[in-house]
Each structure stands twice: as structure tokens, then as C-alpha cells.
């Protein structure tokens, strides 16, 4: 059977972390790590950092400007109405809507960004390498063609993998 991946399966966070460090040290490229809960050492040391928080900040900036521009356009430029002689450009009271709609826009936009970047959408058919990785197993995935398979396997076992699966 033609297999592409090598999976090191661990039962504990400590053994997984040991294997993760060891493989990094030996410069074996780790494709992905699947864990039932976020483990910060891995999130910080594997691959590129996520920029979603930075993007979220810019969404906020554009949303603030956009909402303010809309309010000023409609209430001051397009159709100024006289509410008891108050100024049309009632800037302080525009801020309330600006704050709430900014929050609203950040939420919607960053949710869609998350869905796009993390590759998550309804009825998505991504391969599930190990069904217990969402329960109680920690899985390290390496791509066979990128690494020395024998060495990777022995390193994984050495660090306490309960099994090494080819897939």
C-alpha cells in the first residue's frame, strides 16, 4: 500500500513535547501536530505565527472610519433633519453607534477570516488522520517524502510514542 504520512501517537502531553523537541532538534520537518487542547509550546514553535489579531485591529480601524463616514453622510450631508434645533453633526452621540457597529464588523469579518485561514467551513472533508486526536491522543504528523522515514520513526518511538502508524 502506498502511504504518504507517518503518525507518531502519544498518550501524554509530556511525551509529545519531548518528541516535538527532539524532532525539531534533528531538523526533521513536522507537517502538523494534532492535540485535544491547545499546547502553547507547540503553537509558538511550529510554523508561522497567526496574524489574525493584527488583521482584527485593521478591521476595527476601517470599520470605525466607515461607520462614522456613513453616519455623517446620511445625517449631515444627504438629508440633514432638524431635531429640536440640535446640530445635525451630533458627533458625540454618533460615537455610540460607531463603537457598537465597529465591534459588530470586527466580529463578522474576523469570523470569516478565521473560517478561511483555518480552513473550516460546514461539511468540510479534510482527512482525519487519527480520530482520537480530538479525544485523548496527541499526534505528530510527518510527510514521508520530506524526511528520513526510518530515523523519524525511531525518534518518535524513542520519545515514548505508543504507536507509529503509516498512513
Amino acid at each position: 500500500m502506498d502511504t504518504q504520512y507517518l503518525l507518531g501517537v502519544y498518550k501524554e502531553e509530556e511525551t509529545l513535547l519531548a518528541a516535538f523537541r527532539k524532532l525539531k532538534e534533528q531538523e526533521i520537518e513536522i507537517e502538523d501536530v494534532f492535540t485535544p487542547y491547545p499546547i502553547h509550546e507547540i503553537l509558538e514553535n511550529h510554523g508561522r505565527k497567526s496574524k489574525i489579531t493584527v488583521v482584527g485591529w485593521f478591521y476595527g480601524l476601517f470599520a470605525t472610519l466607515g461607520v462614522l463616514a456613513f453616519l455623517i453622510y446620511t445625517a449631515v450631508i444627504d438629508w440633514p433633519l432638524n431635531y429640536g434645533g440640535k446640530p445635525s453633526n451630533a458627533f458625540p452621540s454618533f460615537l455610540v453607534i460607531t463603537i457598537v457597529l465597529t465591534i459588530f464588523s470586527i466580529t463578522i469579518l474576523s469570523l470569516f477570516t478565521f473560517s478561511w485561514r483555518a480552513n473550516l467551513w460546514p461539511s468540510n472533508e479534510k482527512p482525519i488522520y487519527h480520530p482520537e486526536a480530538t479525544d485523548d491522543k496527541f499526534v505528530i504528523l510527518v510527510k514521508k517524502e520530506k524526511v528520513d522515514t526510518g530515523k523519524a520513526e525511531s525518534l518518535m518511538k524513542e520519545c515514548g510514542a505508543i504507536e507509529v502508524i503509516e498512513k
Binding site: 494534532f34 503553537l43 489574525i52 453607534i97 474576523s110 478565521f114 461539511s123 486526536a133 480530538t134
Partner: protein, 451 residues
């Protein structure tokens, strides 16, 4: 670092990871219990009554309510503010504690957020119907229309309110759903039945717990947490401006925004307490929702109750100190004494005095008493809204315009209907969604086992 020796453990029983999954998901696989079916039946009947009231209101108009020209806001607005207050807990709870990196939120946040979403949904029904002609409700949206174009008035708190409530409903629902994605994936991989696998798999959206997913998940949680914390404070401040911006004795005060926000958190936490005591008892989740959790919620309730008491006294003092005869009349002759004395003292005693019993550890750890106190707080918070809405409106400036207010059966039925929706929603949540955030509890468990 969290010191479990002093404050009591957050998860008992030295759980393994697979045990946590099995414990929390077991109600999803079990057949519905008898009490659950009975509860669904009763809440459906309550909902039917509510739908009848909504039908009467829409087909015949607001004239079927007890409101009049003087007391233009009755039970509908009282219940709206009451529900929205309860709906504040979930987000306040999970978000403030998320930002403060409090691990003890993990066993409770899911249920609190579920409660929020249902309660805000209940709340939204009232102002929508109070508009009178609900088929014209889209007039509140700012869109280029054929009437001018006549844009909406951005200076009106009622418009702020509409925006705030809609945004709050959507954001709290998104935050809730985001937290459930990893758990749905767990059920997808864990469930035996094909239908469950497909249904939960659909909502899990292909989650596998990979590095890229967790990274962005955490990033997004903090974005939503950070901005929703602002929203929690601003939504109820905006609700309070519905009152505070109008020139009515007892309403036109600057204390209203913080007073409303604190009140919302207070009633919400009380509802969380009520719900968690029931939930842990029924589903035997005592090992996840430990006494340590409930003790913390009780302490928060006790502290917030002090703030409530201070706010009540501040209002009364300011009314006296202002020397304004209308303010003095409202507070001293229409609340503390007068027609609405019972409602005032119910509010004061249930909110500011009874929760102070929880200074005693004996009382705090007796869950029957804590349960009763948490129910009393919600009753007291309902009376607070009654006091604000009815007493100020019924007797303001012109004695010739004074009137009193009694709700009609339609209004009462509508309130019962929303209670039905709430119970129905919570029961559905019990049955179909993991009640405790599995992945978060696993991360907390890690620190527990090390001890």
C-alpha cells in the same frame, strides 16, 4: 498561578482525558429522561400561551395591554430589561474571566453562554412588539428608502438600543459557537451513530485540532473576548440611556449606566448560579462544577450585591440632596412609601440585604440556601425594573396626568411565554450540546493532575 490548596480543586477525581470526554458527552448519547420530556411539554405549553399573546398583540394592537398614556411602558419593557440583564451573565462571565485568565471559568462558561443567547432572544421579542406595527419594523434600519430619503435619528437611544441588542445577540452566539467547534469535532470522532457523526461533523466544520487551527482559534477567542468585553458594558449602558436620556424624575441620572451594568451582571450571575446548581445535580457533574466553582460565584454575587445596595442608597441620597421636589416625591413618596412600597422593599431586601448572608461560609456552602438566594435575586431584579419603569412614569410632573398600571392577561401570558422559550432552549442545550467545554476542561485538568 492558581493555588488549588487554598481555594479548592476545580476538577475532582483525577480524570484521564478520555474519561473527561466520556463524562461530558454521556448525556448526548443517552435516551431522553422522563423529566426532560415533561419539561419540554410544560415549556411548550408556556410557549403556546406566549404565541397566543403575541398573536393577540399583533392582530389587535397594544390596546390589549395595560399600558396607558401615562404609564406607556409596562411589563414589556420591564421584562425586556430583565431578560437582557440575565443575558449579560454569559458573556460577562466567560469574557471577563477569559481576559483575566481565570481557569475556573472553563466548567461554567458554556452553560452561561447558552443561557445568554436564549435570554437575549427572549428579550428581543418585547421591544419588537412594543413598536406596535411589527410589520413596519424595518423602518428602524438605515437604508435609502422612498420616504425622503429619511434616515433614522442617530441621536435616539432607541435606535442605539436596536443596534446594540442585535450586535450583542450575534456576537454572543458567535462566541458560543466558536467555543463549541472543537467539542463538536470530539463528538464527531467519538459518536457511534451515523446521524450524530454527520450532524456534529457538519457543525465541527472539519476541525482536527491541528496547530494552525488552534493558533487562529486562540487568536480569534481573544479578539472576540476583547471587543465583547466592551460590548457587555456598552449594551446595558445603552439600555439604561433609554431611561436616562428622558427627563423623568428617577430616570434622568448619570448613575444609570453603571447601575444598569452592575445590575445586569448581578441578575445574570444569579441565573448562572441557579442553572449550575440544577445542572450539576441532574447530570452528576459535581466533579467538574465543584463546590469551589459555586463558592466563587457566590462571592461575586455577594460583592455585586454590595454595589447594588450602594447604588440604591446613592440614588435616594442624590434625590434628597438635589432638593428637586419631583425627584424627592418619586423616591420618598412613590417608592419608599406610597403605592409601590411592596415592590421597592422587595427589590431592596432581595438584592441588597439577603445576598449579604453569603458572607458566612456555612451559608455559602449550603447549596439549598444559595439556590433560594439566587432565585430571590432574580425576583428582586425583576422588581427593580418594575420600580424604575412604573413608579417614575405613574406620577411625574402633572398630578392631573397621574395614572396607575396593572398588567393585563396578555402581558402576563407573554412573559410566561418567554419563560417557556427560555426553559425550552435550555433543555435543548442540555440534550444536544456538551454542557461543559470539553477541550478547555482538559487543559485545566492538566494542572490539576500535576499536584
Amino acid at each position: 498561578m492558581y493555588n488549588t490548596e487554598v481555594r479548592g480543586p476545580l476538577i475532582l477525581g483525577n480524570k484521564s482525558l478520555s474519561q473527561i470526554t466520556a463524562d461530558i458527552t454521556s448525556p448526548l448519547y443517552a435516551r431522553p429522561k422522563f423529566w426532560w420530556i415533561v419539561g419540554m411539554g410544560i415549556s411548550s405549553i408556556m410557549m403556546l400561551l406566549g404565541f397566543w399573546a403575541i398573536y393577540v398583540t399583533i392582530s389587535q394592537g397594544i390596546g390589549t395591554w395595560g399600558v396607558n398614556n401615562t404609564v406607556g411602558w409596562g411589563w414589556a419593557i420591564i421584562n425586556f430589561v430583565w431578560w437582557i440583564g440575565i443575558g449579560h451573565a454569559g458573556t460577562a462571565f466567560s469574557i471577563f474571566l477569559l481576559i483575566l485568565r481565570q481557569e475556573w471559568r472553563s466548567s461554567i462558561n458554556r452553560a452561561a453562554e447558552a443561557m445568554t443567547v436564549v435570554a437575549v432572544g427572549c428579550a428581543a421579542i418585547f421591544p419588537a412588539l412594543h413598536m406596535g406595527r411589527i410589520w413596519d419594523a424595518f423602518f428602524i434600519l438605515p437604508y435609502p428608502n422612498t420616504r425622503g430619503p429619511l434616515w433614522v435619528n442617530y441621536n435616539s437611544p432607541l435606535f442605539w438600543d436596536f443596534i446594540a441588542i442585535s450586535a450583542y445577540l450575534l456576537i454572543s452566539a458567535s462566541f458560543w459557537y466558536l467555543g463549541m467547534i472543537p467539542d463538536f469535532a470530539t463528538i464527531r470522532d467519538h459518536a457511534k451513530s451515523k446521524i450524530k457523526k454527520a450532524a456534529y461533523g457538519f457543525f465541527a466544520m472539519g476541525w482536527r485540532g491541528s496547530v494552525g487551527e488552534w493558533k487562529r482559534y486562540e487568536g480569534l477567542s481573544y479578539i472576540l473576548g476583547g471587543i465583547a468585553a466592551v460590548l457587555v458594558v456598552s449594551v446595558h449602558s445603552i439600555v439604561s440611556t433609554d431611561f436616562a436620556v428622558s427627563v423623568e424624575p428617577g430616570w434622568h441620572t448619570t448613575i444609570f449606566p453603571p447601575y444598569f451594568v452592575v445590575g445586569a451582571i448581578f441578575s445574570g450571575f444569579a441565573m448562572v448560579m441557579t442553572l449550575m446548581i440544577i445542572l450539576r445535580k441532574i447530570y452528576k457533574f459535581e466533579e467538574y462544577v465543584t463546590n469551589a466553582h459555586l463558592d466563587k460565584v457566590a462571592k461575586i454575587l455577594m460583592f455585586v450585591s454590595l454595589i447594588m445596595g450602594t447604588a440604591y442608597l446613592t440614588e435616594i441620597f442624590t434625590a434628597w440632596y438635589s432638593g428637586n421636589e419631583y425627584e424627592i416625591f418619586t423616591f420618598f413618596h412613590n417608592r419608599i412609601t406610597g403605592e409601590f412600597t411592596k415592590q421597592f422593599w422587595a427589590m431592596f431586601i432581595f438584592n441588597a440585604i439577603v445576598p449579604q448572608l453569603m458572607w458566612f461560609k456555612k451559608i455559602r456552602s449550603n447549596l439549598v440556601i444559595v439556590f433560594i438566594i439566587s432565585i430571590l435575586i432574580n425576583v428582586g431584579m425583576w422588581f427593580e425594573r418594575f420600580n424604575i419603569v412604573v413608579t417614575s412614569l405613574s406620577k411625574n410632573y402633572l398630578p392631573s396626568a397621574w395614572a396607575t398600571y396593572t398588567p393585563t392577561f396578555v402581558e402576563i401570558a407573554m412573559y410566561i411565554g418567554t419563560l417557556g422559550i427560555f426553559i425550552f432552549g435550555v433543555l435543548l442545550f442540555f440534550k444536544y450540546i456538551p454542557m461543559i467545554a470539553i477541550s478547555e476542561v482538559k487543559a485545566v485538568n492538566k494542572h490539576q493532575v500535576k499536584k
